[in-house]
């Protein structure tokens, strides 16, 4: 068992106007090659903070973050990020948004035609070829999110980091994007770390669900293995006893052990 990402005794402290704020403390996590891990926890517990640390967008105050045997010193294309708010560049077409990433990763080795083919393949994968020449403001929220996913997958990252990728979407769109994501993950065998606040989504998509305690000084409370065969089908899972067990375990953690104090 080879861990591609190791989070060792990581703590994260923010300097705020009111003094120091300990967001994360003593976080230990190992993520295996090809594994899909989701981070779940109450709002403000530090899920995004942890994901940003893995992405390298922020550096930990204490402890070590290791990716592929090397300390994480900053962001890089081998750790692609799907941003919650899609973050497509509004002045580029959908094609150009994806192409920018493709060009950066493969531009040095491959010719123009190959880069274009990669971009088109990525758009095809999320069924967005028809909108390749549209500007981001011309497509719907779910479509933007799909382009964001295409951009991340097109980079063929070692690790894909997603921060509430479907958080802003309605239930129907979310379900169809989850199915799409299952297909894409199946095809690429990518290592995925995903933040979510949706219990069903966590069980449906992941191999392990990492449950975080409430902040401040949040840490990992429990880790749940989801032993359901892949590929998973949402309709069959509804009747699966293990699915129900996993769901119950997460709900119990969130709503009994980590009951959010009434604000």
């Amino acid at each position: 068992m080879n861990a591609i990402v190791k989070v060792e005794n990581v703590g994260m402290t923010f300097d705020t106007k009111k003094g120091r704020f300990v967001a994360l403390q003593n976080v230990n996590l190992q993520i295996r090659q090809g594994e899909v891990v989701s981070l779940i926890g109450h709002s403000g517990c530090g899920k995004s903070t942890l994901l940003n640390l893995i992405a390298g967008l922020t550096l930990p105050s204490s402890g070590a973050m290791i990716c592929n045997g090397r300390e994480i010193a900053g962001p890089g294309p081998e750790r692609a990020v799907v941003f919650q708010n899609h973050s497509l560049l509004p002045w580029l077409t959908c094609f150009e948004n994806v192409h920018l990433a493709v060009e950066r990763v493969f531009g040095a080795k491959e010719g123009k035609d190959k880069l274009k083919a990669r971009t088109n393949a990525a758009l095809e994968m999320v069924h967005m070829s028809h909108a390749a020449q549209k500007m981001p403001h011309e497509i719907s929220g779910g479509m933007k999110q799909r382009i964001g996913i295409a951009r991340a997958f097109a980079m063929e990252p070692k690790i894909l980091l997603m921060d509430e990728p479907f958080g802003a979407l309605d239930a129907l769109t979310r379900a169809s994007l989850q199915d799409e994501l299952i297909g894409v993950m199946e095809k690429t065998g990518a290592t995925v770390v995903m933040v979510t606040h949706d219990v069903d989504e966590a069980v449906l998509l992941s191999d392990r669900v990492v449950m975080m305690t409430n902040g401040p000084a949040a840490t990992i409370g429990e880790i749940l293995e989801v032993k359901l065969a892949k590929p998973r089908d949402r309709l069959q899972l509804a009747h699966d006893p293990h699915f129900a067990e996993c769901r119950a375990a997460i709900l119990e953690f969130l709503y009994q052990k980590q009951m959010k104090k009434a604000a």
Binding site: G76, P77, N85, W91, H137, D163
Partner: protein
């Protein structure tokens, strides 16, 4: 760096949502606090593709809408012309609308005559003013925009130059005219110099503000993709700063057009400002009134032209 949060932050309302100030009041207000004023950051709802014409709108209704749009401005003009005629009737040396119109017709029937350096057609006068504005303004853009980028990108440069700019910005550009005369030893480049001075502040400050306001999300994209500095500038910084830059350009062309009239009155030569002064010495008040209209219309055209360009680059938000 430490503020990089991928989610749960509000989506920054960036320059792509600039609403153009449309009413006169806003434009005037913007001019007064010209350099710092960025376009208001209201979130204009994305315009949907033109809706199919509603079949129910009858010819009468459309006529009504047209009248409602055109009638108030026409009434406004009629009112001001009536007032003007009234005042002119009571006064012996103030020309009325009819006399002014007559003078305008003779003036514009031959706008490009040349009788020596101090007696040229109104067309030449307008063109030479515009030329000065174009040169002063162009040089200001060449200097100011890169400077704005530098100030916006490097905090050190910002704290170094900010106090200087804060002191110099409120100074009337006309105060720089003597320096221009001294350095260039000629009237023409001196008035161009004042245009340069008044145009440069809005360009620097708006560009710098645009650079500082590039949404963190886009910068995070750049960091994750590990883009080269060149790509960051061309694909991320420049496009997201462009609307701010255009705001700066629009504000400075407005002030430039205000200042050129005053500068030319002081320096002489050919130009609409000097022409106004010359006609005053000739006691041709009707020409001065014509000049006021002409200056106003040219300013309006410049402003609208730049607004048009700004809309073009607002990434589908209006």
């Amino acid at each position: 760096m430490s503020t990089a949060t991928l989610t749960s932050g509000l989506v920054t309302v960036g320059p792509d949502t600039q609403a153009a100030p449309d009413t006169r009041d806003e434009v005037i207000a913007a001019k007064q606090e010209a350099p710092m004023a960025a376009a208001p950051l209201t979130h204009a709802p994305a315009a949907e593709p033109a809706e199919p014409a509603e079949p129910s709108t009858s010819f009468g209704e459309r006529c009504g809408a047209f009248l409602r749009a055109v009638l108030p401005p026409l009434l406004g003009f009629a009112f001001i012309i009536g007032l003007w005629a009234l005042v002119a009737m009571k006064s012996s040396d103030f020309p009325g609308p009819a006399k002014t119109l007559d003078a305008a017709i003779t003036l514009f029937s031959d706008p490009f005559y040349q009788n020596g350096p101090n007696d040229q057609g109104i067309g030449w006068n307008i063109l030479s003013s515009l030329k000065r504005v174009a040169i002063g303004f162009g040089v200001a853009a060449l200097v100011g925009i890169p400077m704005g980028f530098i100030i916006g990108r490097f905090a050190f440069m910002n704290s170094m130059l900010e106090p200087i700019i804060s002191i110099l910005r409120p100074v009337s550009p006309l105060a720089w005219l003597p320096i221009g005369l001294m350095v260039f030893k000629a009237a023409d480049p001196a008035s161009t110099w004042t245009i340069f001075i008044c145009s440069i502040w809005p360009m620097i400050l708006n560009t710098a503000q645009g650079v500082q306001r590039v949404p963190q999300d886009y910068l995070n994209v750049a960091r994750v993709l590990n883009l080269s500095e060149f790509k960051i500038i061309t694909k991320i910084l420049f496009p997201s700063v462009l609307p701010y830059m255009l705001t700066g350009i629009r504000l400075s062309i407005g002030t430039a057009w205000l200042v050129i009239v005053a500068a030319e009155m002081l320096t002489g030569g050919v130009g609409i400002g000097f022409w106004v002064w010359d006609e005053w010495n000739n006691l041709k008040v009707e020409h001065i009134i014509i000049a006021i209209f002409v200056i106003g219309i040219v300013g309006l055209v410049l402003e609208q032209f730049l607004l048009l360009i700004a809309r073009r680059f607002s990434y589908g938000n209006n």
